[in-house]
Symmetry: C3
Subunit: 664 residues, 3 copies
């Protein structure tokens, strides 16, 4: 499922082209400018259902014919959207039961986007009919390079609580559990008198007087992710049938963590990811790196498509900071560094009206005599010189386990502490590795871990018995693992493992008996001089060696960090949250002990380093300098772009990104 | 549309008289006390529908007859309300479809006030029937001085999203756009697949999965303001027919900025305004001055009626601070200073029960042996001595452009920065002028600007082509204008002007290409030593002279403040938000350069000065001292009240307000 | 209504036993462990309706038979629940009209707990049918010690706004007011045109455009409390009929202050109270002490049952802090100190699944090799040695007046200041007494006050004429009272007493004319060097002696604290909020002046002291040390537990609690 469109000959460059928003005379100017910028791929028609089908079964493809012909004539490939992400008003008006409904019964109306219940038969039928038409008409069109199904599934409406969804949820649960008894057992309905005696009684977790059943909520997340996936698969199957060989995908959006992309990754012909910087973050690139690493991991390590990002500001944050000069390049190449073989933006031409008119584009409102356009053209040109990286793969020897069910379960209300957010933990651990220039993949807990020297569990609260055993086998066969706090505590039904917390008591040689989350802002001293935050655990190191213990507080003397030899491997346990530097030091030490070499031995602060490699040994080192001053880095290799040679290595300008080639 | 009720002989003094809340024996005491206090105007019956019409078509006017007779006998004029602001329970119970509905479908019930959908035919019919009765019965009553239609339109329910409103909205849109094509173009429905193909599909902007269409929202604001205005006009027309010559008005309330009062101003026989101080503001009088200036501007510069304010605390703020001794006078006279010819309170006698029982009145719960009553009586007496100011007009040579459509458009979500609120900008600029003792009017962007030496645009984001040309013509003919940030960026359909932002590129000689809002709390240094906040703009001064540029940050070297000679006038551009002192210095300099003289050359801190003038040259200077110490001010004139003569001018006590008369 | 179950022979020890959540093989282990821990009482079946009635009228009591037999065999008494707190899904699915509805019309669904409208006939009928079955079957069971009706009435759904509730509300109002005229007068419907002309028009205070009628809201609180009480009484009456002599109760939960427990106290055979510590409070034991004192007061001073508290963390707070070692004992004995004759937990065995799986239990998830279990066993053993305290009563000579109607009225929106919360005031005054080791009861304003030396009114905003007279009579006959701010201002209909605020102008010799709440964070200096916060009052001390006056601010010179001899007693007035130390000094002085002796003359900081006494003169002093260091306290008596003898008294370890016996 790698991104590999031979027609592009190099990195893909371009973006969403909402031609339907502009008079056709603008199109002529568009293709002229695209050629100037080096654009070779345009995503077409994402929100054009209302323009393509103007009444039930009445289609108007003329404008799209002309648009695709124009692109083809200019040698610009089309990523053709199925346009099903926003049903037209006529559809929603005729099928108001297809509008999504919130947990409190509030219906969400059209006049925005994504206003459909994922389980709605009317929506699914109408979408399929449109896709059938599109597939039939454009299967052989010379511009067609790939299919873009729908758009950012689950971005606004990841779950729907309406009666249609309730019926579908019951169907999914029948498949999952076979019997009501099994459901009652899995959901623990003996608690609070929730035992179901007829399938008809089962509902989505609508608004309730107190906390809803957590397993019901967890299953509703799973069901909802699956419903969206079924929407995708229905469209994909039509397209595969009508245009075999043309890759089909949809653009993933991870922000809300509402869709289980491990399940989706196998269903797309190539992994496409959207990413937007969040203004005002201390380190805005931490999130970029994480999402890029996740995209690559979803693609099985193979190149992926960066399907959307922004040339400058977005429109939907409280403060939409524009990108200072040069940052467009830094941002885009930062994705390439982590395995993207494309640089695609939302969107080509900034909209003049509508809710996203303040979202930047490749062609700004102010035209081509602008900072943004000049940087777009420069980057397009620069990408030509980087064509040789296409197809190379990122080298990662560390895996961070990540699981959507676990995230959902841990984010349920009624947990020990609101401060212990799983995504926050994963972000902190990922940032620590990045600061150490240690590249990591993300992996599902049941995945093949044998290729990694080190496996990390920053937040794997829920784990099935099988997945727990997978980790044990990995260590037994020589692997190294660091298990973080609150890990493996519940099974796949969100039921607690009894007798001492966690799935890995034997593996870790540690028995946890009670969780001691800390009060807001409170800390605990550690025996190594460090500090624990947010969370601590009352534990006994039955079998493990205590490396660090609590030095004060109610758990003083108890183990905070332990090591246990297990089989041919080593299992570490960490029961608290560390400060960033301490965490980085710990992870670096474990990585080195596991035989791994960071890209830079002593990375300068604010420098990011990643490597891509071809099977033939050509290796590309991407080095970003995210500081306000030039940085010298002692590395070898041939400079492809973005740096100057200095006696002991290279110098990278402020907020620059260098690419070097060597051979390994 | 000036406030001019000859019967009052002097400034109007009084307030809302909710006689229906009290047994009739209290009425006798009321009129006795009114005479003691010098009350000459009482607003009667505002919330008495349920007492006047006890069942459909069954009226009980006996008590109101007695009340009006009583007032007439004591020479107290009546501002007679139409009582339509709160339908009785019997009405709402019988017509539940007339209850307003929120964007999420939540119905708002009766048992409070203003619980009607402005578009409800049932409500409109019932209101008209009541007004017909009132007009018929009281047209010739000797107490009747004016009609008070409804109350504070739009205060709680400015918009309604119900099906009735939807139908009315469609009707309004058909009138506005003629064709669906025109609507689709204006709303930019090519974005997000929102193209409408039948009028029946068009809805108010109800709750949606993501941002609703901004032009739909803008038009819904316009429609809703118009629906309320239609409610007003229907009542007014009945009253004009039945009692020709008796002025008809309604009390404006600006707080929510939900009603376009430029459109309303021409429909009332006199402008009446309510105003309440907001407790805890750094300068609570800033808002008083702004609203009073706006009231006067709505009245075309002529005297207006202060219809409601408070003798002490209100009841609806988080902390309802009582007025310290003397502030009642300061507050009331502060309105007179800015053109009010009345001092009317809500309300005469503080209520014993109900949701507003903690709102102060002229007669407090504790009776007449109270701070409030003594101050009321003293003020009533003092107003007698100020009768000569009645009819005089405030002198203003600066206009601040203000437009409700622009405010609505700029407050739409999905804007570049939540920190850049248009009202905040207008307030800051107004406060800077007030600190400089430069009096300003507000003006609509299409108004006659020729009478002003200086025109300011603190926040005019949306402007039509015609209104933009109006400003250009003003400068071309010799005017001076200062255009603030983010100005003229969109047209009347909230569509962006392309090719460089703003409607006045030629006028300003500046081309803006991208907005750079600042992160929360961030600042940027300016070349004159000042500081920019909240917002900056990437601009090029093609033709203009750069007065101040950015000194650091991503826009370092770019223009922040420019000047451009255009025709016979001068156009300034400001691209950022200044600190208060810097803004005041800038506006003072521009005013002086434009030939304007502040009332005080060097105003002492905390001193406010305004002047009113009769056509015969008699001029009144109102000077407020809003500090905790006495202040000396070097002014001439005969002291009418509130100051003592000192060698170099006058001395005003702490929190005092002086009135002087001279001749100009 | 004291807690007195002879079968228990000593303090009750145990907790909620949710046996239905576990396979029966676990039950065997449960009773084995109960015996080890000394458990003698288990609450059974609280949330088991779905297990007991699996379809309408189809009952399954077999498992409960076996469970109760098992308990009986092991000599463990059963507190048998009626299981009506959470209707089963089959019931709610069949009777969706019985689901509760919020003020905005949002329906709350099943899948949680307490999802019933208290007025629902379907719910009431189904609950009665179940209770009839339970009462019939288990009336004579040897394990049955008491009945536990429902659970924490009003915890989640204290009020319901549905149509069924509306109908019931109208019925309650008809009973209360007889005529609509009386209702209109009481509610003050002349305000805002709210006059009702037919009972059918009257509704619960649903969501409204502005503030709803306050008396309507107040009456809806009263009605709702009564509806829940009626639910309780219906079940109780069945049980009394079927098993005469077996005590019937329900567990009170005060947290939300939504149910008027003065009205409930007379309806239960013994007062049972739940209490949970709130993590992160500066002094978490302040709330424990307050609720325990309230429980005792509800029980008329007689021993009460602590029905639920936690062995360690709960699950429903943002951060659920576990109890450090030793605190379980401190917490539990803290209740005994204030009159509890039981130590019962929620729950026996921590749940494995469901929304409360993170709530601690007596048997933790990790089993018996745990801190919690060891402390449970130790405490069970220690309680054996304290059996002699059973039946003794707490000595309190101070009464704090508390009234739910007053709390509801004062918490209505549209009050002078959001900072002046009645519960906050009551908590502060209670904490001041506790710090002074002066024990207080709570009393209803109309209760018998003659037994108290001092009566305090920290927040009695609403008071009826009769209750006001009760206080006057108390003082006239020699009592001492301190009346706090904003007291007695409204009558039972929330209507203001006119002519000067408050019901006690003659008693206090003070006339209050206006309230001056302070701005957020503002303070005012007092003449004794103290500081006033939150609230001040413009008052005149007509007859009273001024002890402290305001030293700055707008009220400078006015009275803040006064004293007035009235009849044979003394009445103090306080018009502002004091700092904690000043309040403690004031209350201590008043208590001493009233002839009261604090338990400790100079209490060490962080030490709590309470005494219980048998009629025969045996007296038990409970002393808690809530500091991190050992404390020496100069007290006499024989040490029963928790302290060591030192030369000048006893030493209590950190966070320890000592019990001494002497004779008085």
């Amino acid at each position: 499922m790698a991104f590999d469109i031979p027609a592009l000959r190099g990195l893909a460059f371009g973006g969403d082209y909402s031609a339907e928003q502009w008079p056709e005379e603008v199109w002529t100017d568009d293709v002229r400018l695209m050629k100037i910028a080096g654009v070779n791929l345009a995503t077409v028609g994402v929100f054009s259902w209302a323009m393509l089908e103007t009444a039930p079964g009445r289609y108007d493809f003329d404008w799209l014919d002309r648009l695709l012909d124009l692109l083809a004539r200019h040698g610009i490939a089309a990523d053709l959207a199925t346009a099903t992400a926003a049903p037209p008003p006529w559809f929603s008006h005729a099928h108001s039961e297809s509008l999504p409904v919130g947990p409190d019964g509030t219906r969400l109306w059209y006049g925005s986007r994504q206003s459909f219940c994922p389980s709605s038969p009317a929506y699914r039928d109408a979408a399929a009919a449109l896709v059938e038409q599109l597939g039939t008409r454009y299967a052989g069109h010379p511009a067609l390079a790939m299919w873009h199904v729908n758009n950012e599934y689950g971005c606004h409406v990841a779950r729907c609580w309406c009666d249609t969804s309730a019926e579908a949820f019951r169907g999914w649960l029948r498949d999952r559990y076979d019997s009501l008894d099994a459901l009652n057992t899995a959901w623990g309905t003996a608690f609070w008198s929730q035992r179901y005696t007829d399938w008809e009684q089962v509902l989505p977790p609508r608004q309730t007087p107190s906390f809803a059943n957590p397993t019901q909520q967890l299953d509703f997340h799973r069901f909802s992710s699956r419903e969206l996936l079924d929407c995708y698969r229905a469209e994909r199957d039509i397209l595969r049938r009508l245009s075999p060989g043309v890759p089909v995908t949809t653009n993933f959006l991870v922000d809300r963590w509402s869709v289980d992309f491990w399940a989706w990754a196998g269903e797309v012909d190539l992994v496409a990811m959207d990413h937007y910087l969040t203004a005002g973050r201390v380190d805005p690139y931490a999130d970029l790196a994480l999402i890029a690493d996740l995209a690559r991991s979803l693609a099985g390590g193979r190149p992926w498509a960066l399907m959307e990002h922004a040339t400058s500001a977005v429109n939907w944050q409280p403060r939409n900071l524009a990108k200072p000069p040069g940052r467009l390049r830094r941002d885009s190449l930062g994705h390439v560094a982590r395995g993207a073989d494309s640089v695609l933006y939302f969107q080509w031409r900034a909209s003049r009206s509508g809710a996203e008119k303040w979202h930047s584009g490749m062609v700004p409102h102010a035209g081509t005599d602008t900072k943004v356009w000049r940087e777009v053209v420069a980057l397009g040109s620069e990408l030509d010189g980087l064509a040789e990286v296409v197809g190379s793969e990122v080298i990662a020897e560390v895996a961070v386990l990540l699981d959507w069910s676990s995230i959902w379960a841990q984010r349920h209300p009624s947990q020990p502490s609101v401060d212990a957010d799983p995504i926050g933990c994963i972000e902190q651990w990922h940032a620590a590795l990045r600061a150490a220039t240690v590249t990591c993949d993300f992996a599902p807990p049941g995945g093949d871990l044998g290729r990694y020297r080190l496996v990390l569990l920053p937040a794997l609260h829920l784990v099935s018995e099988a997945d727990a055993a997978n980790l044990v086998a990995y260590v037994a066969e020589g692997g190294t693992v660091l298990v973080g706090p609150y890990a493996g505590v519940v099974d796949e039904h969100d039921q607690i493992r009894l007798g001492g917390y966690g799935a890995w008591r034997e593996l870790l040689g540690v028995r946890v008996e009670e969780f001691f989350p800390l009060d807001v802002g409170a800390t605990v001293a550690l025996s190594d001089g460090g500090t624990g935050r947010v969370w601590t655990e009352l534990a006994t190191a039955d079998q493990a060696e205590v490396l660090v213990s609590y030095a004060d507080g109610p758990l003083a003397g108890g183990p905070a960090l332990t090591r246990h030899q297990y089989g041919r491997g080593t299992a570490y346990y960490l029961g608290t949250h560390l400060d960033d530097p301490a965490l980085r030091a710990l992870l670096t030490r474990l990585a080195v002990d596991a035989g791994l070499t960071p890209i830079l031995a002593t990375p300068p602060p604010g420098v990011e380093a990643v490597q891509r490699r071809h099977p033939d040994g050509r290796r590309y080192t991407f080095l970003a300098n995210d500081t306000d001053a030039p940085v010298e880095v002692p590395v070898d290799g041939s400079i492809l772009t973005g740096a100057a040679r200095v006696p002991d290595g290279i110098q990278i300008p402020p907020h620059g990104l260098a690419v070097l080639r060597d051979r390994c």
